[in-house]
C-alpha cells in the first residue's frame, strides 16, 4: 500500500446526490485522486465490507459519510467506519440532520411500511407482504437489516468530527473543506476544532441574496407555481416561503437567485437548536392579519386563515432538520397513526 492518505465515502439512507456532488468538483477530482488513496467508496469503487473490517482501526484518514441512520445496517456501518476512520465527516444534510428520510419521523414504521408496501395506488401486493428481518426458505434463512422506527442523524449514533451541510453540499465549499483537510494531513496545518460545521458562513442565506428586503406583513402565502415572483424583491415579502433567513449561508443563495425560496438545507444558524421552530416563530411574527383592537377570537380566525395558506408546515419548516431538531419525531401510538 502507498503512503497516500486514505479516503472513504459511504452512503446510508440517502439519494446518492452527495456522491455526485463530490464528483461535481470538476477537475479538482483529479487532485483528490492524486492526493488520496480510495479505501472504500461503494458508488465508484468495488470494495466490500469485509475489506473495511480487515483494516486496522484508524486506517482511513478521512471518511465522508452521507445518509441518515435508517436501519440496523446503516447503524452497523456507522460504528464500523467510526472505528476505522481518523476523521469522520457527516457529509450532507442526511448525515448532519436527517433530511428527507427523517420526515418519516412524523409517522411510524408501520405507517411507512403501509405506504410503501400496503395501501398505495401503484402497488399490487394482495398478500400484504412486508420486509421481515429473517425468513426461512428451503435453502436456509434469509435476513434483511431491521428497519428502524426513527431516523437518526449520524451524530446521534456515533461520534462525529465535522459536519458539512447541504443537500448536497456546494462544490466550492467541498473543495475548500478538502483543501483544509489535505493541508492538515499533509502539512500538519491546524484543523478546525472537532465538532465544527465546515463549508458554511456564520450569517444567514439572506446575506448572500441580493433581493431587496422590506418590513414584512404577509397577508397570504403562495406555492411557487401560484405566482411569478418579482426578481428584485425578497421572496418571503412576496408570500413565498423562503427559509433563507433561518438557514446558514455558504451556498451562495443559489435557490432564491432562480426564484425558488430557500429550502433550508444548510441547517440552522449557529446557536440555534431548532431551525423549524425558529422559522415558525419568525413567520408567526410577520403575519399581517387583523386590526388593532380586534377581538381575540376574530383575530385568531384571521391569523388562522393566513397560516392555512402554508401547505405542509412540518414538511416545509423541518424538511432537512427533523431528526436533529428539538422535536425529533412525532409521538405515535401503537397502531402507527399519529
Amino acid at each position: 500500500m502507498s503512503e497516500k492518505p486514505k479516503l472513504a465515502m459511504y452512503w446510508a439512507a440517502s439519494c446518492g446526490g452527495c456522491e455526485i456532488s463530490v464528483l461535481n468538483i470538476h477537475e479538482h477530482i483529479l487532485t483528490v485522486d492524486s492526493i488520496f488513496d480510495i479505501a472504500f467508496f461503494p458508488c465508484i469503487a468495488d470494495f466490500k465490507v469485509h475489506h473495511v473490517e480487515n483494516y486496522p482501526d484508524g486506517y482511513i484518514d478521512v471518511c465522508l459519510w452521507n445518509g441518515a441512520i435508517r436501519n440496523s445496517e446503516s447503524e452497523h456501518m456507522a460504528h464500523l467506519l467510526r472505528q476505522k476512520s481518523k476523521v469522520l465527516v457527516a457529509y450532507g444534510s442526511c448525515a448532519y440532520e436527517g433530511c428527507i428520510p427523517a420526515l418519516s419521523n412524523l409517522t411510524s414504521k408501520a405507517a411507512t411500511f403501509n405506504t410503501v408496501y400496503g395501501e398505495n395506488h401503484s402497488l399490487d401486493n394482495p398478500n400484504q407482504v412486508v420486509p421481515l428481518t429473517s425468513v426461512d426458505v428451503a435453502e436456509g434463512t434469509l435476513t434483511l437489516p431491521e428497519f428502524y422506527h426513527t431516523v437518526q442523524s449520524l451524530d446521534q449514533v456515533v461520534d462525529v468530527d465535522y459536519y458539512l451541510p447541504g443537500c448536497p453540499p456546494e462544490p466550492p465549499q467541498i473543495w475548500a473543506v478538502l483543501q483544509v483537510v489535505v493541508a492538515g494531513l499533509l502539512e500538519g496545518a491546524p484543523l478546525p476544532p472537532k465538532g465544527s460545521i465546515v463549508g458554511v458562513t456564520n450569517t444567514a442565506v439572506c446575506e448572500e441574496c441580493d433581493r431587496v428586503k422590506s418590513e414584512k406583513a404577509i397577508e397570504r402565502f403562495y406555492r411557487p407555481y401560484e405566482i411569478t415572483p418579482d426578481p428584485e424583491v425578497c421572496l418571503l415579502d412576496q408570500g413565498l416561503v423562503c427559509m433563507g433567513l433561518a438557514t446558514r449561508g455558504g451556498c451562495g443563495a443559489l435557490c432564491p437567485q432562480v426564484n425558488m425560496g430557500c429550502r433550508g438545507c444548510y441547517g440552522p444558524m449557529p446557536g440555534v437548536e431548532d431551525q423549524g421552530a425558529k422559522m415558525l416563530s419568525a413567520i408567526a411574527s410577520v403575519i399581517g392579519a387583523g386590526e388593532p383592537g380586534m377581538e381575540d377570537a376574530e383575530l385568531e380566525e384571521k391569523i388562522g386563515a393566513v397560516v392555512d395558506t402554508i401547505v405542509d408546515p412540518a414538511g416545509t419548516f423541518y424538511r432537512f432538520s427533523m431528526a436533529h431538531s428539538l422535536l425529533r419525531r412525532a409521538k405515535v401510538n401503537g397502531n402507527g397513526k399519529g
Partner: protein, 669 residues
C-alpha cells in the same frame, strides 16, 4: 462551571410554603446538587435576618451565585438582588424560584408540592450557573407629565404636580373637564354641593400656568418608555377659535337648534348644537356638534358666526383636527368609569316604563342647575311623586352582569333617599337592598341618619318592576315585586317613581386604552395595578400610573387620594432625575445579521432600526424594554436577550425536568 459556588435558600414564608412543602427536605436535597456550596431553609427569607444570611454567606463562603426559593419575583426579586449587591455580588447573579404562588398555594398534596419545589429550585440552580453580570442603565426622566382623563382623579393629579412646579398636559376627551362629579348634585356623606367643591378645582386646572389643558382631545399614539414617552394627541376641531373666543355664550343663546343632551344631562334635558356641557365648564369655549349642525349638514344657518361679537370672529367652520406631539416622562391614566346600561335588565322596566329612572338621571333632576331646576318630578316634568323606590345593586353583585360590588351605590342610594325626603317631605321612600354596605368615614353615620329620616328599608333583591296592577291600590303605579328577606315574605310595593342604582363599570374602550398605553386591564376592564395592596397606583409598565375609578369602583375621596398618590409617585421620580433601568435588553450581533428584516416592525417600543447602507438591523439599547419579542422572532438566532439567553433557558428547562426520565427513544420498534 464547576468553579461556581451556589447558595440556595428555601423560604418557609411563615406557613405559606412550609405548611405544604417539606422545606427541610428540599434544602437538604438542594445541598447535594452540583455546584451548591450552602443550602438553607429559613422562616422568612425577605426579613432582614433572612437577607443577612445571604449577605454573610457571600462574604464568608465566597458564594458566586444565589438562588432563593420563595414567592413570586414580583414580590421580592428586588429585595434579594439588593441583598446580593450588599454582599458584593452582581445583583444579576441571582435567580428566584417561586414555590409559593406556583406551588404551595396550588395544592394540599405534600408529596407533590415538595417534589415540585425541588424541580423549581433545581431549574433555578441550573439556570443561575449561566447568569452573567449585568449593569443597570440610568435613564433621564423628562419632568413633564401627561394626565389622561379630567375627572376628579385626573384634576387632582394634575394640580398636585402643577402646584409642585411641574408641567402637566391634561387631556380630556369631552369638551370640559369635571367628569362624573360635575353631574352630581350633592355628595355623600357630608352632602356638600358637588359643583361647589369641584368647580374651584376645575378653574384652577384651567388657569394654572403649569397645566396645558387639552379638552376635546384624545391620545392616539404612545411611544417610548418611562422617562421618555412621546405621545400624539388628536385635538378635535371645536370650530371655535380658542384664542379669540371670550366665552360670552352669545353664540349658544342664538343657536336656533336644540338636541337632546345624552351625555351630560343623561338624556334628561336639551342643549344647543353649539354648546358647553354645563355653565361652569372649563374651558369656557363652546364646541359645535358637527353631526347635528344645520350649517355642516345642509350648508345654511351660521347664526353663531353672525352673532359672535369678537373681532376677529371666533367661529371657524373650516377648523381641522390637530395632531400635537408632546414628550413626557410619566403618564397618569384617570379615565374613570361608565354607568351600567339599565336596559340590560328588562324586568326593571328602564326605557319601557317611563317613571323608572337611573341614578345619573336622578342626579341631574335634583341638581339645581339641571333640567328640572332641582325639582323631583315624574317623566311628565310636572307631578311630584308621593312614593319612590330606590333599587340597589342594579348590575352589581349579579352573576349575570357584574359579580363585583360597585362599592358606592349603597351610599348614593341613601343619598337619593335623603334628597327625596328633603324635597318632598311627605313622600314614602323605599330602599331595596341586598346588603347595606357603608364602610367609610362618616358613612355608617349617614345610614343611621336615613334610618331616622323614616326611609323604609327592604332587604331583598328586587324581582321585577311592573305596571300590571293586581289590586285597586296598585292602579297607575309602578309595582316593585321584592322578597323581603327580613320578614320572609314576598311584597308588592306600589310607588310613583323607581330609581335604579346602576353598577359602575369600566369604560367601554378600556381594553383599547390599555393596549394603547401597553398596560393591563382585568376581565372586567378595570386597569390592573402593580400590587392590589402595596402598589395600587402603579402598573406593570414603568412610568404608567392609574388613579380613580378606572382602576375599580370608587367614590370621590378615594379617587382624589389615588390622584394625589399617583402625582406623588411621579413627583418623586422627577426629583430623582434618573431611573435605573433593568439591563435586560436585546442586542443584535451586527456581524451576523443578514438583514432579513423580520424583526423590524416587531418592536412595540420602536427600538429597532435598519441600516440600509450596511443591510443590518440594530437595537437601540436606550429604547429597548427587554420584552423579548424580537429575540423570539429572529430566525437566525442572532438577537440575544440579556438574562434570557438560550443557555439560561434550556438549562432551566432541563433543571425543571430533573426527575423526568426521558422515555427510551423509540428507535427500533
Amino acid at each position: 462551571m464547576s468553579e461556581e459556588k451556589i447558595g440556595v435558600y428555601i423560604c418557609h414564608c411563615g406557613t405559606n410554603i412550609a405548611k405544604v412543602v417539606d422545606v427541610e427536605d428540599v434544602a437538604e436535597w438542594a445541598g447535594n446538587q452540583p455546584n451548591v456550596e450552602v443550602s438553607r431553609e429559613y422562616k422568612f427569607m425577605c426579613s432582614s435576618l433572612g437577607q443577612d444570611l445571604i449577605e454573610e454567606d457571600i462574604k464568608e463562603k465566597g458564594l458566586t451565585r444565589i438562588v432563593v426559593s420563595s414567592c413570586s419575583p414580583h414580590m421580592h426579586e428586588k429585595t434579594f438582588r439588593t441583598a446580593c449587591e450588599r454582599g458584593g455580588l452582581n445583583p444579576f447573579m441571582f435567580e428566584m424560584a417561586n414555590i409559593r404562588e406556583h406551588d404551595s398555594w396550588t395544592t394540599d398534596d405534600e408529596t407533590a408540592a415538595t417534589q415540585k419545589a425541588k424541580a423549581l429550585t433545581n431549574a433555578a440552580i441550573e439556570r443561575v450557573v449561566h447568569h452573567e453580570a449585568l449593569e443597570q442603565l440610568p435613564v433621564e426622566i423628562n419632568p413633564n407629565t401627561l394626565v389622561v382623563g379630567g375627572g376628579i382623579a385626573g384634576i387632582t393629579a394634575a394640580l398636585e404636580l402643577a402646584d409642585g412646579g411641574r408641567h402637566v398636559y391634561l387631556v380630556e376627551r369631552e369638551p370640559s373637564i369635571g367628569g362624573h362629579m360635575a353631574q352630581l348634585d350633592k355628595t355623600f356623606p357630608t352632602l356638600d354641593c358637588s359643583a361647589c367643591i369641584l368647580t374651584p378645582k376645575m378653574v384652577d386646572a384651567g388657569q394654572h400656568p403649569n397645566i396645558t389643558l387639552l379638552t376635546w382631545s384624545e391620545v392616539e399614539k404612545v411611544d417610548g418608555f418611562i422617562g421618555n414617552f412621546t405621545v400624539s394627541i388628536r385635538k378635535k376641531a371645536r370650530y371655535v377659535n380658542e384664542e379669540h373666543c371670550t366665552g360670552c355664550g352669545i353664540c349658544i343663546e342664538k343657536c336656533p337648534f336644540n338636541v337632546v343632551d345624552d351625555i351630560f344631562e343623561a338624556g334628561m334635558g336639551d342643549r344647543k348644537v353649539i354648546y358647553r356641557p354645563f355653565p361652569q365648564a372649563v374651558p369656557k369655549y363652546p364646541v359645535i356638534d358637527k353631526e347635528n349642525c344645520v350649517y355642516f349638514q345642509k350648508g345654511k344657518c351660521k347664526a353663531c358666526e353672525k352673532f359672535c361679537p369678537t373681532e376677529p370672529n371666533s367661529i371657524e367652520f373650516d377648523q381641522q383636527d390637530e395632531i400635537l406631539t408632546v414628550d413626557v416622562g410619566n403618564i397618569i391614566l384617570a379615565t374613570g368609569f361608565q354607568l351600567f346600561d339599565s336596559t340590560k335588565i328588562p324586568q326593571y322596566g328602564y326605557g319601557r316604563l317611563p317613571n323608572v329612572f337611573t341614578g345619573i338621571e336622578f342626579e341631574r333632576m335634583v341638581n339645581a342647575s339641571g333640567p328640572t331646576d332641582g325639582k323631583i318630578v315624574l317623566r311628565d316634568k310636572k307631578t311630584a311623586p308621593k312614593s319612590v323606590a330606590i333599587i340597589h345593586c342594579v348590575g352589581s353583585r349579579d352573576e349575570n352582569y357584574h359579580k363585583y360590588c360597585s362599592k358606592i351605590c349603597c351610599m348614593y342610594s341613601l343619598k337619593f333617599a335623603h334628597l327625596v325626603h328633603e324635597r318632598i317631605p311627605d313622600a314614602e321612600v323605599y330602599n331595596c337592598y341586598i346588603d347595606m354596605r357603608t364602610p367609610g368615614k362618616g358613612y355608617e353615620e349617614f345610614y343611621n341618619r336615613l334610618l331616622e329620616e323614616g326611609t323604609h328599608f327592604i332587604r331583598g333583591k328586587v324581582a321585577e318592576v311592573t305596571n300590571a296592577a293586581r289590586k285597586p291600590e296598585e292602579k297607575g303605579k309602578l309595582i316593585v315585586q321584592v322578597e323581603d328577606t327580613l320578614i320572609g315574605r314576598q311584597r308588592r310595593v306600589p310607588v310613583d317613581m323607581v330609581i335604579l342604582s346602576p353598577a359602575m363599570e369600566a369604560q367601554p374602550d378600556s381594553k383599547e386604552i390599555s393596549q394603547l398605553f401597553k398596560m393591563g386591564c382585568d376581565f372586567d376592564g378595570f386597569f390592573t395595578e402593580r400590587h392590589p395592596k402595596l402598589d395600587p397606583v402603579a402598573t406593570m409598565t414603568d412610568g404608567i400610573l392609574i388613579a380613580g375609578a378606572c382602576q375599580g369602583p370608587k367614590d370621590v375621596p378615594d379617587s382624589v387620594a389615588q390622584g394625589a398618590a399617583a402625582a406623588a409617585r411621579v413627583a418623586g421620580l422627577i426629583n430623582l432625575g434618573t431611573v435605573m433601568m433593568e439591563p435586560v435588553r436585546a442586542s443584535i450581533n451586527q456581524e451576523d445579521c443578514s438583514g432579513c428584516r423580520i424583526c423590524n416592525n416587531m418592536c412595540p417600543y420602536n427600538a429597532i432600526v435598519f441600516h440600509a447602507d450596511r443591510k443590518v438591523s440594530e437595537v437601540i439599547t436606550a429604547l429597548c424594554q427587554g420584552c423579548g419579542t424580537c429575540v423570539a422572532a429572529c430566525p437566525s438566532g442572532i438577537i440575544s436577550g440579556a438574562h434570557f439567553t438560550n443557555d439560561q433557558l434550556f438549562s432551566q428547562i432541563e433543571g425543571i425536568l430533573w426527575d423526568v426520565r426521558p422515555e427510551k427513544e423509540l428507535v427500533s420498534a
